[in-house]
């Protein structure tokens, strides 16, 4: 059961990673990257590293996404 | 098993089922509804009621202790923040000029 959970999470993680690379809309990529961080946070927690999970949730899903979006708002939204 | 345990167990099942149902409906709505506003509405609904009742079920299952209090606090946070973020999203979209979908106009937009 626990292994099934792990496999599901890792499949989601890989799907998110591929989606981040493939999408041309940078705003969408930033949001998907935030979802990637949330999945990563769950994996850390499930592997028994709550400290890293907290950092991942706060930095990866929270602050970096905001900084990405601010940067996109200052520059361009579409990848060329 | 005392009658109180049975009642609490039944309530746990009811709330967990309710949460799962709302998440299912919310996800279906997110995938199937026609425009941004209705999709935001579906997503917010599924977050608020779904996560709220799932957390309530967890608190009931856990019994009365400090962890349950924390779970209830998280449920309160979700109940506060999820509608707020939905409201902010929809408001921002409306103010920037996104026109809500209407059934009678669906044909002409598609053409």
């Amino acid at each position: 059961m626990s292994q099934l959970f792990d496999i599901t999470l890792i499949a989601l993680l890989i799907a998110c990673a591929v989606a981040v690379i493939r999408t041309k809309d940078l705003l969408a990529a930033a949001i998907i990257f935030s979802a990637y961080s949330l999945v990563m946070c769950l994996i850390w927690q499930h592997r028994g590293a709550p400290d890293v999970a907290m950092t991942e949730a706060a930095v990866g899903a929270g602050v970096t996404t905001v900084l990405f979006i601010v940067t996109i708002a200052r520059t361009v939204r579409r990848e060329r | 098993m005392t009658p109180a345990d049975a009642v609490i167990g039944a309530l746990t099942v009811v709330f967990a089922g309710l949460g799962a149902f709302f998440f299912l409906v919310g996800t279906l709505g997110l995938l199937r509804l026609p425009d941004f506003f209705s999709r935001t509405h579906a997503a917010t609904k599924c977050d608020t009621v779904g996560a709220g009742s799932l957390l309530l079920a967890l608190a009931l299952y856990n019994g009365l202790d400090a962890d349950s209090l924390k779970i209830i606090a998280i449920a309160g946070l979700v109940l506060l923040t999820s509608p707020t973020s939905g409201h902010a999203l929809a408001r921002a979209a409306f103010r920037t000029g996104l026109v809500p979908w209407r059934k009678e106009r669906a044909g002409e937009e598609a053409s």
Partner: protein
């Protein structure tokens, strides 16, 4: 000429780094110290040797304190680099910002005002309790930074700037490396080595107090750095 100088400097800096990396045990080697005895020793004796019940805090602040000292310096340097790049034409900065096109909704304003004290309390709890439960300066500092960002977006920059008073701002941004230097020098004075922690019988509480002070320094510094990063990046130019 300038380029050649930079290249020469980089090579000079790279030689000692590469030679040290060559000394490290090969990646995933089964006989590297981390696998034979170091991890087991940390897990077994960490709590009594290093002074915090949370082994992660023991490792990052006590056993590997010097690494973390470098790490917080790197974060501070990153902020300095961002400021150096984005603040270049400092005279031309628009001091009076135009009113935002879309006023923030009353609902959002109310909820953020309502939740802000709780978020701040949670951040302080995560920072101060980092030596017992998961969490610590880096996590709590990021929560503080997120709070600063939320308040900036919702209440406006002027309101949020009051969180980091202008005269104290450089000190708050440099809080993490400064705390490490202060604790490190205190270690020299008391124990005789940089970032040394007193471990003898009556002084255990000093050790834990130093860990908590380091956590507070990292937390305040991290929050201030994240807040300033956001302000610098979203400012009108």
């Amino acid at each position: 000429m300038k380029r050649a100088l930079v290249a020469a400097l980089l090579i000079v800096a790279a030689i000692p780094l590469l030679s040290i990396v060559a000394e490290l045990p090969p990646h995933a080697a089964p006989d590297s110290p981390a696998y034979t005895h170091v991890s087991a020793h940390y897990l077994e004796h960490g709590a009594e040797e290093a002074g915090a019940e949370n082994i992660v805090t023991d490792v990052i602040l006590n056993y590997r304190g010097f690494d973390t000292n470098g790490e917080v310096t790197v974060i501070f340097t990153a902020l300095a680099a961002v400021l150096a790049i984005l603040l270049l034409p400092s005279e031309e900065r628009v001091e009076e910002r135009p009113a935002p096109a879309m006023p923030v909704s009353m609902v959002v304003r109310f909820v953020v005002r309502l939740l802000a004290p709780f978020i701040a309390l949670f951040a302080v709890y995560v920072i101060m309790n980092g030596h017992v439960t998961p969490g610590g300066g880096f996590q709590g500092g990021t929560i503080l930074g997120a709070l600063v960002i939320a308040l900036t977006i919702v209440l406006g920059e002027d309101e949020a700037h009051r969180l980091l008073p202008r005269p104290a701002r450089p000190w708050l941004q440099a809080a993490a490396p400064l705390t490490f230097v202060v604790i490190g020098i205190a270690g020299i004075a008391v124990v005789g080595s940089y970032l040394g922690f007193p471990a003898e019988e009556p002084w255990q509480w000093v050790r834990t107090a130093w860990l908590v002070i380091l956590e507070i320094g990292i937390g305040v510094g991290g929050g201030a750095i994240i807040g300033t990063l956001f302000w610098t990046m979203e400012a009108e130019r």
